[in-house]
């Protein structure tokens, strides 16, 4: 297993484009700390983002995992091209001739995906812990380490998304087209939602059905955190609107994403096995 990771590491780290993308991704993950610096101080209106409670434990776990998940696109580019480049350089052929089995090849890519997700998760965990340590109003041990389900959901979400990218890279064999396919898939899911809602079901059933689609199921894992903010709820209360939200991570949502991950990895392997290179 270490050998497979080392193989992938040599391929990635010697590629300048990947190196830059990976580095900027982690820099961006850290930059979430910069939100703390957002301060408006215009005469009577004093607004300090860090002080309206977004960095309070345990809310910070929810907020940070939701926001940082958007940066995953950087790694998506890396993952799609690390797969597609093997085809365009024909190095996949050489790898197999040199004695890597097809299973090992897919495994080395999947292990890299897991490592990316794991490192991102640890990174976000540490950054959030430090930010919360500085700005949180609550610092009891039991509060700090509650709601960690979001950190786990973040990990599952990244693994699922990256596995999708991996599969697209193998399926399409060209990085640019694979990324285009990803965008098109997002649009397809959007249109499908619209069609189902329009012709078939009511809002709840549509949401239920769409929860089984790959990208939507990954999005569902971590629900948007803004409406959960106390400040926002206060405003809502004042205008007489009550926001009832179940923002928790559901076990079946995790299961759906894990299912997609398994499907994508298996399909990648099946595709590689079936193809003549």
């Amino acid at each position: 297993m270490v050998r497979l990771l080392q193989i992938e590491f040599i391929k990635l780290w010697n590629n300048r484009a990947s190196k830059i993308l990976i580095t900027s991704y982690f820099v961006l993950l850290t930059s979430i700390a910069l939100i703390a610096a957002i301060k408006f101080d215009i005469g009577p209106i004093k607004f300090h983002l860090a002080e309206i409670g977004i960095f309070n434990f345990p809310y910070i776990w929810h907020f940070n995992t939701f926001v940082t998940a958007f940066f995953k696109l950087f790694l998506a580019i890396v993952i799609v091209s690390m797969m597609a480049n093997e085809y365009s350089n024909k190095t996949i052929k050489q790898n197999l001739i040199d004695g890597l089995s097809k299973k090992e090849f897919i495994l080395s890519k999947f292990l890299t995906v897991i490592s990316f997700a794991l490192i991102s998760t640890v990174f976000v965990f540490v950054v959030s812990l430090i930010l919360g340590g500085i700005y949180s109003d609550y610092d009891e041990f039991s509060i700090i380490f509650s709601d960690l389900e979001f950190v786990m959901a973040f990990f599952v979400k990244l693994v699922g998304f990256f596995s999708f990218c991996l599969f697209l890279g193998i399926l399409v064999k060209r990085s640019a087209f694979s990324l285009g396919f990803l965008v098109i898939w997002q649009i397809i899911e959007g249109i499908t939602t619209g069609l189902i809602r329009w012709k078939l079901f009511n809002k709840e059933t549509t949401e239920f059905v769409m929860g089984f689609f790959p990208l939507q199921s990954m999005y569902n894992l971590i629900k948007e955190p803004i409406t959960r903010l106390e400040a926002v709820q206060t405003v809502a209360d004042q205008v007489g609107e009550e926001i009832v939200l179940d923002y928790h991570v559901q076990w079946y949502e995790i299961l759906i994403v894990l299912g997609w991950t398994a499907i994508f990895v298996y399909l990648s392997y099946a595709l590689l096995k079936k193809r003549d290179l």
Partner: protein
């Protein structure tokens, strides 16, 4: 004899096209094999199948004693297929250390092999800056990293300039003298003739011949003769039982043997008949002539 590769009834179909048809042969340790055949005769497909990159339609093949899995066996094989494939953004050293990781051997052989192919000075240049000849030589170095039991080369001199072709051939010869088994696929016959001891000849995916180069045709060779009295010589040889076809071209008489006869005996015979030769050469048909005869006949 140790068997390195056994191929039994291998068939590969691409849709309607049968690229390899019921092919069987074995590769024994220590020989230099050539796979010969015109373009599109199934050479590369056959190599692709035994190297795990092309799926077979039917048939079997097994490496060594047949107990190891194909990808493990390939770690003891060195192979280059068509174009050299490496990561363009990595240097020679980085590319080779990656291959070492895949083959599970240590990095210590990298210098030795790069020196063998004359690339040690360029070890820190990126692969994409190499000329085609250098790329091909790097591929050979990479294939040799594990000191393979067998080296498989598919058209190794394709697209190279004469100097590059010469370099690659020298390297192949040097490797062959070290006792490494070599399997060389090529449509360049003189290339195969110069280095190979055994050949497998393919045409349209079918095997026409496999065995030693010498045994390819039951032929005793031919004489090239020149003298002042050509007509007399021709009549004499036509009457002789040992000779078959006799032809005359550009003042040289070519007489094909039906049975074994050495040059000395012929010289003596003609001298006794009162004929003095100005030119006497005994030759075997070149591989090219044999190959063309074989592929034409069937």
């Amino acid at each position: 004899m140790n068997t390195i590769l056994t191929v039994n009834n291998l068939t590969k179909k691409f849709g309607y096209l049968t690229a390899v048809k019921d092919l069987s042969f074995t590769i024994e340790k220590g020989n230099v094999y050539g796979i010969l055949g015109p373009n599109g005769s199934g050479k590369s497909t056959t190599l692709g199948i035994i190297l795990n990159v092309v799926n077979r339609t039917s048939g079997e093949f097994s490496w060594f004693d047949g107990t190891t899995s194909t990808h493990d066996a390939l770690k003891k094989v060195g192979a280059i297929i068509e174009r050299p494939n490496f990561y363009p953004y990595m240097t020679a050293i980085q590319n080779l250390s990656l291959v070492c990781k895949i083959k599970e051997v240590s990095n210590e052989k990298i210098q030795e092999k790069l020196e063998l192919v004359g690339l040690w000075e360029r070890r820190n240049s990126k692969f994409r800056t190499y000329s085609l000849g250098m790329k091909q030589r790097l591929a050979i170095a990479s294939a040799l990293l594990n000191d393979p039991e067998i080296l498989i080369l598919d058209e190794p001199t394709n697209g190279l300039d004469p100097q590059g072709i010469h370099q690659i051939r020298e390297i192949i010869k040097r490797i062959a003298t070290q006792g490494t088994t070599i399997l060389l696929a090529s449509h360049l016959l003189d290339e195969v003739e110069k280095v190979c001891s055994h050949v497998v000849i393919l045409r349209k995916g079918e095997k026409l011949y496999s065995g030693p180069v010498d045994g390819m045709m039951a032929s005793h060779g031919f004489f090239e003769l020149r003298t002042t009295h050509m007509e007399k010589l021709k009549n004499l040889l036509e009457k002789h039982a040992s000779f078959g076809k006799i032809s005359q071209e550009n003042g040289t008489l070519t007489a094909f043997l039906k049975e074994e006869m050495n040059a000395e005996a012929l010289n003596k015979l003609l001298f006794e008949e009162g004929m003095v030769l100005s030119h006497l050469v005994k030759r075997k048909e070149s591989l090219e002539e044999q190959f063309l005869t074989l592929t034409k006949n069937q």
